[in-house]
Amino acid sequence: MPGIFVSEACQFEGCNFMTIRVRLFASLSEQWQIDQKTIQLKEGQTVAAVWREITGESLPDSILMAVNMEYARPDTPVKAGDEVAFFPPVTGG
């Protein structure tokens, strides 16, 4: 039900912007000085567009991404209320 999210993201009727929460981790967070940020984005956009919106650059191949805590791809669509995360290759264990 995208209608619900649109009305959540915008406070007036006919709005075609959505609110996305963006999170960066580890070296990306340091590099862009962003930990967590809320952005307004036109509807019908992808993960790659979120990256462009916050950095002004195109998304490098080496970066991993997730939508709502599930791994995603640059062309994964985002919708109002989504949490989109970008991070470097993982190094746990």
């Binding site: 999170r23 981790f25 580890a26 070296s27 997730a66 805590m69 599930e70 791994y71 995360a85 991070f87 470097p88 290759p89 993982v90 190094t91 746990g92 264990g93």
Partner: protein
């Protein structure tokens, strides 16, 4: 099946035994395969004083649970436990514990290794090393070897 993130140092064998006693009946399992990753005081030829382990709260747990679920689809085991440190870690301290209990040894060995390899390649954790004169984020290439 349990995933635990540990903000403070933990004793992996104590955790393993507590889990074993609470979840498994004596005589029901024949095989216990475990792996412990411990912080070394050296990496890539440098002395390492401290490690900071960042994670993605929520996604990290979810990804670890998915990994265990995948392993369960492939092998018949009774229980699995994954514990992982986050925050500041010092040399000699355990970073990760993976334990799998099964009736026969094959599934315990296979699932333990599978979970550990998948954790290394997919679970959202990032290591930052504190060297004597600088800090550096560990790269994935070298981490996959460790």
């Amino acid at each position: 099946m349990t995933v635990q993130l540990k903000p403070k140092p933990f004793d992996p064998f104590r955790l393993l035994l507590q889990y074993q006693e609470s979840r498994l009946a004596p005589g029901s399992y024949g095989a216990t395969a475990s792996f412990i990753g411990t912080m070394r005081d050296f990496n890539q030829g440098d002395s390492v004083k401290r490690l900071f382990l960042e994670h993605y709260p929520g996604m990290t747990e979810r990804e670890l649970e998915k990994i265990i679920a995948e392993a369960r689809q492939r092998w018949a085991f009774l229980e699995a436990l994954v514990a992982h440190r986050v925050g500041d870690i010092f040399p000699g301290e355990p970073i990760v514990l993976v334990v799998v209990w099964s009736v026969h040894r094959g599934p315990a060995f296979d699932a333990c290794r599978y979970i550990m390899e998948a954790l290394k390649s997919r679970a959202p954790f990032w290591k930052k090393e504190k060297l004597p004169h600088k800090e550096r984020w560990v790269s994935n290439d070298e981490n996959l070897q460790n």
